[in-house]
Symmetry: C2
Subunit: 352 residues, 2 copies
């Protein structure tokens, strides 16, 4: 977290006018200090002690790399936030965001180095903010990623009471020669789908419209085939696939696609050579019940379902036929399709 | 900008259900494509061609550096956004954010490498978003910083119509031996203040309360001593001081403090050794009229004014007495104070 490590300044006891305008500087600092221990636990030897707190300092260890490439990505969690607001559970959102960002850079073969968060609200509720920041710290620690900076913005009149927005930026590294760029993808290669943990962070505006507005459900509702409450299901944490992917033998992974907004249909073509298509057999994995409920109740076209939601597949790996067995053993994924000649670099969904 | 470089997928013509839920995927992509040229103009040879668009790829050139340290920072522009909303001028906000971030890492001696933006709203208004993104691109190009990634989030029900929030993350680099850490600051060193360009990005909640709510002014109002309209004044772009600072002879700059939220009182102590104080004579520079209007009309304690606003000083440099003349010539700054023994690492304002 950023901040003011030295507060021993000759200032008035309280900032009366600023507080009256809705900004509580002391409270913000107190929340940040409260989670300093958690943040420090994410710091390895590459993180240098702070100087003044203006910027995070990271001395990267690029030993063993010939040509380090920094891979960065920024994201939010969309209206999954509305589920956190409705349930009062704020400890998962930060984990969603960190894991989403890690997956976004893992698809080019990068490992995470550091993460910075942005957290904005109208007024700062210490208990809520502490929960959110704990989520960031928890996922950063689990993902081997230093939580090196953050901004906690108080913007009176910009957000509804009790609401907030979060954004996160990750920076990772990959040796250029090991960068996954899809160039080794060939006809006959196999698509291996790794199971998602629910909706992850995409499609929530549509899911909420169908489940809450149309069906009149609440986060406490139970749905057939869905474990726990609807709130539990909709808050399940976005999976971090990077450790699994990094654990594959060298050069086995030819390409990978993180299935986010746009689903299989929009995300897989990003890593396909333009001369090849991906043929996916949608009968090869069990679509989780939550997606079936949304699709049926919302009378949503099955193709659109596969373009808005991950439909149970959070990451797709592309490997050679000879490496399929080893990859399945290591990842517990499923063969969901194959690379076929086609010449348009598109996804063909079979069996809808 | 991130995105979907290959849209040639077998998908339905429009995403009917998703659009009905308030998310227009095609429009978002169109806006991003529209500014691709501007974004590419910020890219030097260190930016590698995109792979799938999941992450930005930057191959840093650290030649000549012994121990490169990555310096990162994340920020927003606070409720300065409300001035953009009120005036309908959205081309400056992105510049504010980029320059603010550059200044935050310049204080440890870092030069910017790349920047990522986050832009969230309820609905995507193409003309507005194009303006905002142009602001990012303009300041990145001027600051020698690659605009390497971004997220444009549509969150129905989270933001008011016509409103949005922005956040930005910067990553820069400094050779560890050249890092400014305040350790060379000594008794008798001189504080040189560099003029700000108005409020920059801090204190807007209080400024708006006094100027608009209490005084009943509008962005079209004229104020004595203020050039242009009040809207013009409140939208003036946060200055980028990094080129000036980088242009000083080696080792002249001992420390620097970016005067943001917390003003001189909270920001300068961040870089002071705990055995020394900073004595600032507030009569040594002309406080711009806008701050005088806010302070007088709001009946705000002068100390609090110096803790909420920059009061006309956007950056403070600390240099040895012998280097003062050269620094003033190069930066056109003003001597505003001196480092004195004191033992608390605080700012003492004289002449209030």
């Amino acid at each position: 977290m950023p901040s003011h490590p030295k507060s021993k300044v000759s200032r008035p006891k309280s900032q009366k006018a600023y507080a009256a305008a809705g900004v509580d500087v002391d409270l913000g600092n107190a929340v940040k200090r409260g989670i300093q221990r958690l943040v420090r636990e994410t710091h390895g030897p590459e993180v240098l002690g702070k100087i003044g707190g203006f910027g995070g300092l990271f001395r990267p260890d690029f030993r063993g790399m010939k040509e380090p490439v920094l891979v960065s990505s920024v994201d939010g969690v969309g209206t999954k936030l509305k589920i956190a607001f409705a349930t009062g559970r704020h400890d998962t959102i930060g984990q969603d965001l960190v894991n989403h960002c890690i997956d976004d850079i893992a698809v080019v073969g990068a490992r995470p180095l550091f993460f910075l968060d942005y957290l904005a609200s109208a007024t700062l509720e210490p208990a809520v903010f502490t929960q959110i920041l704990k989520g960031f710290a928890k996922a950063c620690k689990a993902g081997g990623c230093a939580l090196i900076g953050g901004e906690t913005a108080q913007m009176p009149g910009m957000y509804l009471p009790g609401e907030y927005d979060v954004a996160g930026t990750i920076v990772g590294v990959v040796d250029r020669a090991k960068m996954l760029d899809g160039s080794r993808v060939k006809k006959g290669d196999v698509l291996i789908g790794l199971a998602s943990n629910g909706l992850h962070t995409n499609g929530y505006s549509l899911a909420r419209k169908v489940l809450f507005d149309q069906l009149g459900l609440t986060p406490a509702s139970k749905l057939e085939g869905v474990k726990g409450t609807l709130g539990d299901e909709l808050l399940r944490v976005h999976k971090n696939y990077q450790p699994l992917m990094a654990g594959l033998p060298p050069r086995v992974l030819k390409a990978a696609a993180h299935i986010t907004g746009g689903g299989l249909i929009d995300n897989l073509p990003r890593v396909l050579p333009s001369t090849l298509d991906a043929r996916i057999d949608v009968g090869t994995w069990k679509v989780p019940a939550i997606f079936q409920h949304i699709g049926q109740a919302g009378k949503i076209d099955p193709v659109e379902m596969h373009q808005v939601f991950n439909m149970g597949i959070g990451m797709v790996l592309i490997v050679a036929e000879k490496d399929v067995a080893a990859t399945l053993r290591h990842t517990r994924g499923a063969v969901i399709g194959r690379i076929v000649p086609g010449g348009r670099g598109v996804v063909r969904l079979e069996g809808l």
